[in-house]
Point group: C2
Chain length 493, copies 2
């Protein structure tokens, strides 16, 4: 707001300016990110300006501030704002804009913090979820269960939404289901279990049969019939003895006394005790029990009952749970997906690249913090097999790269140009909002989720490696590199 | 919601239950936390139930769900809910409840996730801010500037609010000023600077004088007068030569040619180049320039112009900037305070401790995850000098500890009881909401901030150390320990 007053006082509030929102380094030590958050940006931009803010600003800015400034603020809206963006679920790489925002200088400057807030965390979460999906493989069901660990309630909503976009299967956050259409899935809390002493009598213990038209059954009584006497102590001692001898190949003989009343509960107790504290092993023991019981009682469905686990699961533990032979089917992840403990912030920036049609550049001693000047276009170059070669940034007025033709480009971080001949060329940035008007319907969340998996599928495995991946190249066109060089050496723009 | 249906089907929705919200370990490897988030919990509870949720739930739960369940949900409100809480800004320790929530089982179970979300992050941020304040010392101005790095917009609002509570001086988040009364402070972005080429003409270059009734001045022209010619190259070469010889004791002789036009800019350029890349050193050089100019032009105010820095400042860099002799006055911190990278989640839990007046306990193989059963009271025992000795948890019906009398307690994690004789005893939990009604006005944010600093002042330095502190003791009364032992060994409650 103080800068807004500065622009206004300088008579520059309506100068046409363009900003780019991008990140400088991929998160989590990886070589890719997923672009996300655009749908929240669109929602935000269409609901500007928030009522009541101007009055508040007037109360905190110096009392001799020209009242005409506040009059100007009251007239602000996004009708002059144009946004180009990487579609949600696109692969994103350092320096390639996730958003290009142009419009009156004062307005687009005011958008800096909200847009950074909306894009950075959404993209971080989607990228984190995509990494966890890569670790888990395609078949495990991954559930986000982290609302209680989120940094603020709408942080939780963002996390549920964009972890789904990044490759999770659903969330326990009911609001994300209601507001964003994320598939819902829930489990029990320990408090539900400990709240029962066993003496409770349900008001209606009768349950209608699932499939047939048969009579209702007393569920509590049926359960009691399975477990109505104490399991046989001798049998249990025998199982324990066998398990002590063969802890990795434990098996039970269930029908010595009574399968329901003694053999099965004793077998369960011993099998589960063997797996204590290790989710992977517990899942294996439980599956073995399910198989045994399934065979014993001719209940084939029991064999494949999904086993769900959750307990502070991080990338390493997820890899263990997803390994070959794991009997875990559903994995609930909270803190690790929602708070991104390995890197809790993507660190996007929002930088001025042109004003009044003139390119602008931030010069600094730290080369990584230099900005790329000018209004730009971005292209993804692909090989003949459809795999990604590199991204190229160029000035908006340059002709796009042509498939099959050689192109000289300057890879970021290299000192030499190189020549590339793409088989296919894809423009990266789509016009999303033109002069305040949405240009077309956004894809649904499920469509963006599918697009993210499709995009990842085209990325070479060397860039998808989670540790020490090969960096993916982003390069500048000849003309853009020349502009950078000219402005760096103090030439006027 | 699935559990709610479970309780309802079991006829237990209205059973009286009590939950406790607490954490198991202090964050960031420290030995204390600050309780925070209560004001957001109160706001949340008073605005229940959110409209439209029941209809949505009906659309996602199985279609044969009894419609009477949804009727029950529509009647829910917090009129039966009672909350006791640690006042905001209190010191909080492991196992000591931040909230005690009692009421109908179904309702208080539904509150689990929202209350965890609201308390955990607020307390984490307040604790993080308190640690950064301890590092910075009492005089530096600490500003929170992390909205753009927050995990969601209301995460940003929470961060601004509770970093202020924990000891920061203000925030750049305008909404936190408007909605929560947090003092505001802002700076410039690089885009503001790069947006000017220098050719712009302000529509009104005239500025009224600050103090007197004198004529308006043309500010741009005055500035040009200070810098209208190129500084003398020979003079600059001389300064560079001197600086090369005395890089840690650089000084300039400014009036060889012209102080304004040559001596000062040359001196500045060399002094600042010396400090390149290091905020502490840059601040020292800038202060030296301010002092020199202040003396040269008899402008005493210039000497003490506050110097503000911000650039990815973490705990270590903050310690450097706050060291003896630092010329930095204002420190802006973003990512480090807002996302808590060292531990992005406090990991609070919300556990059932009694239902229908009977204590409940979660037994588990992991002793750290066992819960403490029963409705409880909590007391802080103090020595004769007002410093904190330990916190004691006991059953609600026990008489409170008496000052000056010996008390036998069971420190958590120890196997033996010990005897303590407190000089003072403070009850920790205050009745905050009784049967849905707020019991009195909450303290203002500024009052809670002052209370937090007061609370920290009474904690022994050994517990305040940020690395490897001595743990602060939390102990159980004889009766509570006996109940734990009875329930642990399978005795019925």
């Amino acid at each position: 707001a103080t800068m807004a007053l500065g622009y206004w006082r300088a008579g520059r509030a309506r100068d046409q300016a363009e900003f780019e929102l991008y990140f400088r380094r991929c998160p989590f030590g990886g070589a890719f990110a997923l672009a996300a958050g655009l749908r929240d940006c669109v929602r935000f931009l269409r609901n500007l300006p928030p009522a009541g803010h101007v009055q508040f600003l007037a109360s905190v800015l110096p009392s001799d501030t020209d009242p005409a400034f506040f009059e100007h603020l009251r007239t602000l809206d996004c009708s002059g704002v144009t946004v180009r963006a990487l579609p949600e679920g696109s692969l994103a790489f350092p320096s390639v804009p996730l958003l290009q925002v142009s419009g009156p200088l004062l307005v687009v400057q005011l958008l800096e913090t909200p847009l950074l807030c909306l894009v950075s965390y959404a993209s971080l979460i989607a990228t984190n979820a995509a990494r966890l999906r890569l670790i888990a493989g395609p078949t495990k069901r991954l559930l986000e269960m982290g609302l209680r660990r989120a940094q603020g309630p709408d942080g939780g909503l963002t996390a549920s939404t964009y972890s789904y976009l990044g490759g999770f299967d659903g969330s326990s956050n009911v609001l994300a289901g209601q507001l964003r259409g994320v598939p819902l899935a829930g489990t029990l809390a320990h408090s539900f279990v400990t709240s029962f002493s066993g003496a409770e009598v349900p008001p209606d213990p009768m349950l209608a049969p699932a499939a047939s038209q048969g009579p209702r059954v007393d569920l509590a009584a049926c359960v009691e019939a399975w477990l109505e006497t104490r399991p046989h102590r001798g049998e249990r001692a025998a199982f324990v003895a066998y398990a002590l001898a063969f802890p990795r190949a434990f098996q039970g003989l269930l029908d010595t006394y009574s399968v329901q009343r003694s053999g099965l509960p004793n077998f369960l107790a011993v099998a589960l005790a063997l797996g204590d504290g290790d989710l992977l092993q517990q899942a294996q023991e439980i599956r073995r029990v399910f198989r045994t019981v399934s065979a014993q009682f001719q209940m084939p469905w029991l064999e494949s009952v999904p086993i769900a686990v959750s307990n502070n699961i991080d990338e390493e533990e997820l890899a263990r749970l997803a390994q070959e032979g794991s009997e875990v089917n559903v994995i609930g992840i909270g803190t690790t997906v929602v708070t991104c403990p390995r890197q809790p912030s993507l660190g996007c920036v929002y930088k001025l690249v042109s004003v009044g049609g003139q390119p602008r550049m931030k010069l600094t001693e730290d080369p990584e913090k230099q900005t790329l000047p000018g209004s730009k276009a971005a292209f993804r170059l692909l090989g003949s097999d459809g795999s990604l070669l590199m991204d190229v940034l160029q000035l908006a007025e340059e002709p796009p790269p042509q498939p099959g033709q050689e192109l000289r480009v300057w890879p970021r971080g290299a000192r030499e140009a190189c020549v590339v001949r793409p088989a296919h060329v894809e423009p990266l940035l789509r016009l999303c909002i033109q002069q305040g008007q949405l240009c077309g319907p956004l894809p649904s969340l499920a469509e963006s989720r599918a697009f993210a998996q499709l995009s990842l599928g085209r990325l070479n495995p060397e860039h998808k490696r989670l540790e020490q991946p090969a960096p993916y190249q982003v390069a500048l066109s000849d003309e853009l590199q020349a502009l950078v060089d000219r402005l760096s050496t103090g030439g006027s723009s």
